[in-house]
């Protein structure tokens, strides 16, 4: 009798477990993107909405785990980068199929890489691979092995394949045949993109069941953030990426469990002073801006803690430099945050020949220190940051005028006419490897904002940064590259060409019905592990509570 009861209990337990397991399957995850995807060709993606579709549909050889920041094998079982960083060899998984049933092999990888690197395609995804003149040599070593040789060393070569979607060389469906967890099922311009589960997706969960759990993903096109928030609160969408602090606070007060602060992000907010020699600004101001001590004093006089607390409601952190602490490997942990110290700033300015007279700072020539900072109109956070800097700098006698400009006018001034004095802007960093910042740090680069496109480095420290940046790009030894970038961070900290202010936190909203979500500081914050996400009914959520 006891035995049969035990058997019955075990049977019930197994039945319950299997029901619970299968209940993970099904459902539609919904979220919004701000604009229409420009393309569904994964190699031509250069906008966020298209990148979202690519991320959810495309299979890649390797993928960066957004939480551990480690590179993980995907379609490739293993890979090896040559010592000089010019060649990479992939060993591929066998017996995989695209969504339309066509088989996956090294031929597809070769086809993808050749198409990607075709100069006529003008793919922005290919840009980081273009390390030097010459053709890329792709060799199929076996049906599951492929070697790719680049004409010059490519820094962080293996990580770049996180962005390379593998396309089928044989499928008549072309880019619609995918290796990712979902494929495009329907698209209504201006309304939505509907993705359905890829029945041939290669990944399985720990119990051996095929992923993804979700039946479909519906990506709504919604420009209005207020409406997106409203849809989220009503339960009509399940995720919100990159929440504003204001919305985050609102969400926290309404349903705390749905608001997630993943911590400091990669994106810095910074100010720089115009150091372009030909800029149409007075010579005495150029002399201030070129002075390291002046820039250092400005940096010390800005209260970043207050800025983070007040403007971003505590959801930001004082920035250390070009690499955010969120970038665990590349961040130079020896650096310390710039302390707010107006008295030290005044002393430093005095050493540089400035005098504080009746609350006004004057230079050696008796010119009152006054300059304008431009920022983009419509961004209330930057306007508020500027207003706080205005009050902070007033304490050391500097008068700061704030000018908000529409974005095209601002870009015209900072990149063509150079008719500005200081600029407050932010950067969006999507890559962990700082090699992608070469276009900012090389003195000859167009995005070397404080003094772009120099024929020869204007200062010794810029020359030193040039040397370090080039050195890191020519080696695949990650430790050496780290040493070089650590030094770059130290120089930037000493010289303050960009006065780094804050790193915003990565804020997101995730409905309580979405399970397995692990919000990350890296994009895409909420659905980076889309194949593992599943939906619970509201009743189950209530029961589990």
């Amino acid at each position: 009798m006891k035995k049969s009861i035990l058997h019955a209990l075990v049977l019930c337990g197994l039945l319950f477990a299997s029901c619970t397991a299968w209940s993970q399957y099904g459902g539609e995850l919904r979220f919004c993107v701000r604009a229409e995807p420009k393309t569904f060709d994964p190699l031509l993606v250069d906008d966020d909405p298209s990148d979202t579709v690519r991320y959810l549909t495309a299979g890649v050889l390797v993928r960066t785990n957004r939480v551990t920041q480690q590179l993980e094998p995907q379609l490739a079982l293993s890979w090896k980068v040559s010592e000089n960083g010019q060649r990479i060899t992939f060993k591929l998984r066998r017996d995989l199929y695209f969504s339309d049933g066509s088989p996956f092999s090294a031929t597809d990888v070769a086809y993808t890489v050749r198409r990607l690197m075709d100069p006529n395609l003008h793919s922005s995804t290919a840009d980081p691979f273009r390390s030097g003149p010459g053709d890329v040599d792709v060799r199929i070593l076996a049906s599951d092995r492929v070697a790719i040789r680049f004409p010059a060393p490519v820094a962080g070569l293996d990580r770049l394949f996180d962005q390379v979607p593998i396309m089928s060389s044989t499928s008549p469906k072309k880019e619609m045949a995918v290796l990712g967890p979902f494929n495009i099922a329907d698209y209504k311009p201006g309304e939505y993109v509907l993705l359905k589960r890829n029945p041939n997706y290669w990944k399985h969960d720990a119990a051996g069941r095929r992923l993804p759990y979700l039946d479909s993903v519906r990506i709504e096109v919604e420009q209005n953030r207020d409406l997106e928030m409203l849809h989220f609160v009503r339960g009509e969408v399940d995720l919100i990426n990159s929440l504003d602090p204001e919305y985050f606070s609102r969400l926290s007060s309404q349903a705390e469990s749905t608001a997630h602060d993943a911590g400091v992000s990669l994106d810095p907010e910074m100010m720089w002073l115009n150091q372009v020699p030909t800029a149409p600004i007075p010579a005495y101001k150029k002399a201030w801006f070129a002075s390291t001590m002046f820039r250092q004093a400005l940096s010390k006089a800005i209260n970043r803690e207050d800025m983070a607390r007040i403007v971003f409601r505590g959801h930001a952190h004082p920035a250390f430099g070009p690499i955010s602490p969120a970038n665990t490997f590349w961040f130079n942990s020896k650096l310390k945050a710039q302390a707010y110290d107006p008295q030290s700033a005044i002393r430093e300015l005095a050493q540089d020949g400035f005098k504080l007279q009746d609350g006004t700072l004057k230079d050696r020539g008796g010119n009152a220190v006054e300059f304008s900072v431009i920022t983009n109109a419509g961004n209330k956070y930057r306007a508020a940051m500027a207003a706080m800097m205005q009050q902070d700098l007033a304490k050391i006698g500097i008068r700061l005028n704030i000018v908000t400009l529409d974005f095209p006018s601002l870009m015209e001034r900072i990149s063509r006419t150079f008719d500005y004095e200081a600029c407050l802007l932010g950067l969006v960093n999507t890559e962990l490897d700082p090699n992608v910042q070469m276009n900012v740090w090389l003195s000859s680069a167009a995005d070397h904002q404080w003094n772009p496109q120099q024929k020869n480095p204007a200062t010794a420290w810029e020359s030193e940064i040039d040397r370090l940046i080039r050195a890191q790009a020519s080696t695949s030894d990650v430790r050496k590259r780290k040493q070089y970038f650590d030094r770059v961070q130290e120089i930037v900290r000493e010289q303050n060409p960009f006065i780094y202010l804050l790193n915003k936190d990565a804020l997101s909203g995730i409905a309580s019905t979405v399970r397995n979500a692990q919000p990350s500081v890296l994009r895409p914050q909420t659905y980076w592990n889309i194949d593992e996400l599943y939906l619970q009914s509201h009743a189950d959520v209530a029961r589990s509570r």
Partner: protein, 267 residues
């Protein structure tokens, strides 16, 4: 004078007086940031609470009202005078000049105002003080806002051109410029006055629109535009005191309209 007009004028007077006495009434400077109290709710210390940077909202409302209520009439005066000269001369001279002037007027009316203001504002020098920036903003409004009024003035001037007293003056040998200055322009005064009153709320609203775009009055100076920016977004509904600047704007614009419409009523 009817009761409605009296109430409107009294309210306008009250608002204007309070804003002019802002230095004495306001509990704090409009720029002072109480960093320990950002986004505070109304209290005895801060009657309308504090804004996101901890600045006293009541003080900013008083100073912002002063700026909007003083500079909007100034801009209205500029635009009305321009409309008077251009529209008046067009109506008086007629012919090719009128055609050209009305063509230019139509061109001005067809231009996308807001984008034009944004573009002109972007071309101005950057290093100007907040006070200069606010004056520039309203001066632009005045200089660019004459077209609609010019059409009305032109029609009025055209009617006057053919009136008996103007014909008599011309027959008596009075020179053309003198006829315009002495006989036409003064008789356009009621039309110009009406256009002046109508322009004031229009300019206040335009500055508010520019402020919402972040292109109006520069920080830290407040204006109704910058104050209205606080109600954009999702969280305003739970903070009704944020709507006080909007209510004041609606009240002032309504008072202007009531004062104007009462004036037009036959006594």
């Amino acid at each position: 004078m009817n009761t409605g007009r009296w109430i409107a004028i009294c309210l306008l007077g009250l608002v204007l007086t309070a804003s002019l006495l802002a230095n004495f009434i306001a509990p704090a400077s409009y720029a002072e940031q109480f960093r320990d109290l950002p986004g505070a709710s109304p209290s005895a210390r801060h009657w309308l609470g504090t804004d996101d940077l901890g600045r006293d909202r009541f003080s900013r409302l008083l100073y912002g009202t002063r700026i909007s209520l003083l500079l909007a009439p100034a801009a209205a005066l500029v635009s009305t005078l321009l409309a008077g000269v251009i529209g008046g001369l067009a109506g008086y001279l007629g012919g090719g000049f009128e055609g050209t002037a009305m063509w230019v007027t139509d061109l001005f009316l067809s231009l996308p105002w807001l984008f034009l203001l944004v573009a002109v504002r972007a071309m101005l020098p950057l290093n100007v003080s907040p006070l200069a920036s606010v004056i520039i903003t309203f001066a632009l409004l005045g200089i660019l806002g004459w077209a609609a009024a010019a059409r009305v003035v032109c029609a009025g001037s055209r009617t006057l051109r053919n009136s008996d007293f103007v014909l008599q003056a011309r027959a008596s040998g009075v020179s053309g410029p003198r006829v315009f200055a002495v006989h036409i322009f003064p008789n356009l005064a009621p039309v110009l006055l009406a256009q002046f009153w109508i322009s004031i709320p229009v300019f206040i609203l335009t500055e508010a629109n520019l402020g919402v775009l972040g292109l109006g009055v520069a920080e830290p100076l407040p204006s109704w535009g910058s104050l209205l920016r606080e109600i954009e977004g999702y969280s305003a509904a739970s903070q009704p005191w944020l709507f006080v600047p909007l209510l004041l704007l609606v009240a002032v614009v309504t008072c202007f309209q009531v004062a104007l419409s009462s004036k037009e009523l036959p006594s």
